[in-house]
Amino acid sequence: MFLINCPFCGEREQSEFKAGGEAHIERPKQPTELSDDEWAEFLFMRKNIKGVQFERWNHAHGCRKWFNIVRDTSDDQIKAVYKMGEKPPVK
């Protein structure tokens, strides 16, 4: 079970959080302009990386805030935590 450093509350057990999948996939501003393929790209396609991945997490049983983390999926090490709208602090 990870320890996640919520940017609003501090370090908490993973069980307080809910994972929200890959980060930095912006909802298209004008969905109607998109072809089926373009919309499908947004809707379904995820990288599912083995290695360093940017992820959305929600402190569901805490402050209810969404934020992003950088996690290595091969060893679960969390490299960074940052707020929504912020640039990832690591590459």
Partner: protein, 1003 residues
Amino acid sequence: MSKNLRFKSSKLVDETYRISFKFNNKTYYGYKGDTLASALLANDVHLVGRSFKYHRPRGIMTAGSEEPNAIIQLHDNTSRTEPNVRATEIEIYEGLVASSQNCWPSVNFDIGGINNILSPILPAGFYYKTFMWPKSFWEKYEYFIRKSAGLGKSPKEADPDIYEHKYIHCDVLIIGAGISGIIAAKMSAKNGLKTLLVDEKSFLGGSTIYDNSKFSKINNQITSSWLEKEINEISKLENLEIKTRTSVAAFHGYNFLLARENLTDHLPITQRENKIRHRLLKIRAQKVICATGAIERPLIFDNNDRPGILLSSAMKKYIDLYGVACGENNILFTNNDTAYETAMSMVQRGIKINAIIDNREEIDSKLSYEVEKNNIKIFKGYTVVDTYGYKRINGLSIMELSKDGQKVIGKKIKLSCDSLGVSGGWTPAVHLFTQSGGKLKFREDDQVFIPNKYPSDQLSIGSCNGDFSLEEITTNTILSVKKFLNINIIDYKTFEIITGMNKSKRNIWLLPSDKILGKTKSFVDYQNDATAKDIKLALREGFRSIEHVKRYTTTGMGTDQGKLGNMHALGIISETAGTKMGEHGTTTFRPPYTPLTFGTIVGRNVGKFFDIVRRTPIHDWHVANNAKFENVSQWKRAWYYPKANENMYQAVQRESKAARDCAGILDASTLGKIDIQGTDASEFLNRVYTNAWSKLAIGKCRYGLMLNEDGMVYDDGVTTRLDENHYIMTTTTGGAANVLGKLEDYLQTEWPELDVYLSSVTDHYATICVCGPHSKKIVSKVIPDLDFSDEKFPHMSFKNTKIGQIKCRVMRISFTGEQSYEINIQSNYGKSVWEKCMEAGKDFNITPYGTETMHLLRAEKGFIIVGQDTDATMTPIDLQMDWIVSKKKYDFIGKRSLYRSDTIKDDRKQLVGLLTENPKEVLEEGAQIVADIKKSPIEMLGHVTSSYYSPNLNKSIALGVVKGGKKMLGQKLIIPMENKNINVTVADPVFLDKEGERLSAKL
């Protein structure tokens, strides 16, 4: 006839405290401190079980948690009966009752033993190969396999014991209290670190605590005495907590570990009353030190599994710790010096050693010279090729090994014995290290896997790190712990170590035999009866990965996870395939390290604490009025209210009729309620619902449908505009938390510019729904000051009002199609308002109804229930709800998906009504719907989602989803059931009052 196998003055046994116990219905005696295994051995009982596949007689093999054979059933025929308990771990207590498992009718005469004779036709993969073909035969085999398979019996009654969970946070957790764990604990605690030391045994000191040979000394003291002083010292340290009988089951990432503390299993039954049996410790440690020791390897030779064959270290332990000899005429068989320690213990106690068989051609250690001095015959460069005796070993034959160790040569020599100790060297217990994600490396010198890369802040020390000699253990432990904990205070200066051991070893994974392999039974996994032959067969059949070989041969898949034989399996694989060790991977050790009881896992979360129960403020009234309840997510909802002898069907028919003919009352408090405020609240609703919201007037209500981004229906409910920037949204009972989460997600991540605030208020309000033609009269009596006229208070509108002094909201909305009012009032007034409504409705036959009637009434109107009529593959168009999808809005969640190539297909499953040819016939929910039963295979068009007998329409009605159903109106379809086909006609899903006249019907 009783043999003298017990010696006085052993380390652990209290000879003044005699204990009686029963094993296989026979009474035996042992002493306090004995394990069941040591007590049985003292009574000369070796045969304790039968093997899984061949039902071969098996005896006690080890003296610890790695035991593969001596797994027994504890507490026969009681609610506490427990299978798969290791006799080597359970401490005896007065009244202990245990029996062998996996044998019938008895361990001495076991019918399944026939499998041993049949074994040539029971090779690896036998079950896969034989019983799966032809497929149709499986049913015939299954009965016999099920009967003879399985280890032990599970209890038939609820567990009467108490378990609990506890969180522990510490600076340093040390797993294992052997010599290296003790040294590390002292170093850690003396430097002010909050330290927890755990060990699975009842005593501290590991195997060093009985290391009392004159050849093993630390600073001129016998090693065991030195360690005793150390233990005495650390037990007084303030920062150190020590837990014995505590087995670490799992080592997860981020240094999170689970351990089981065994608190009462060693106590007499009478002293266990009201005590916690096991405690699951959830440990979060800054740093973890694994000092888990090593497990002695057996040797792989023909018939190496007979009762009376034990690990040599186990024999030593039984002698020194429990004062028990495993036999009167012993032979030791080894490839390293370990067995000579055992021999010395035997010599000291006067136990007869017939011979020592050593794979090595040359032996050069003080210990071996000492043994030879005692006139014990050592066969150097020899191997055991066979053993004799069915239920107990009575002899063996040996032959000389060729120079390369691949063959046996010369003449066969027969030797007699009643006990054989084997030693194949040591395997570091890296199970927990690998569980945590640690990577191993293979050390060629002595053929062991040792920790290589740590995945978290942890360290392995002592023999689990591959340090086997006393000198390496002490020196390396101190150096590495000092560095790991970054500490200064070190009590230990240099050690003067004296040892009689030499590190030399002649490792041969599979010992050669004079027979061909196919004629041998050289067990690699004792518990699952996997032999060297099976592993070679798997390789011949093309399996390469250790994980595949493991599954095909079942090696390492028993309750012991192959703690003894996994290394040999790897060795045989790499030897046979001509590859390097570890190249085919090592098997993964998974939690738990040793089995946990279910009680330990669930702790106190049993019975009424199993899950959170949510009750409405009106719950007590429902109970008092004989309601039956159903679980809807965590809520207890009134299901129906049977009167006198009514069954569910009768009660629901009565309730449904009353709600339409007179008046019904429903507790709707469980519906999710989300308070939405902010200057952008209208815009927000526009984006999350499919229909338009900006023009909804203050004081009006509107039904909304929410989609996922993929266009599928997610939730629905009525939202009311309370004020310019203030709405209250209702959600389904089960969907409340998820809807709130989803809305928060969009607000925080996609539309942070919107000024909107969400708050869950589900529990703040009780919701009482009064419906039916008399509903207006009833609510008018409850709230006389409010104008309920259709002009002032039309359908789909709301009023702020008061009942007495208490503010409440009344919504005129309907889920039944009847005229209907929902009173929302502060929770704690819910019950009294409900009672007021009941009183006011007395003259109008007001009838409380539950969720079942609610479902029936809405089905008559064709209203969907999200999750019952939909399943995350239904768009609003599929549900024939095109009317609620705004064409004008530029965007809303899921809009773009509604015209993807897949969602616009005509032949999607669509919601339709279904009417049975025989109006009395009620369909089964979930039943398949087909058009042509002659076609093969029959094409499944869809299924029934909701089905009831409608007392208001006097016929059976159903909703279902059917491929292309929208265009099938009036068409005949078939519901094939087990013994009949039911004819149905596709109908409009709205069965009653399509015009909506009843919403304002006057009586």
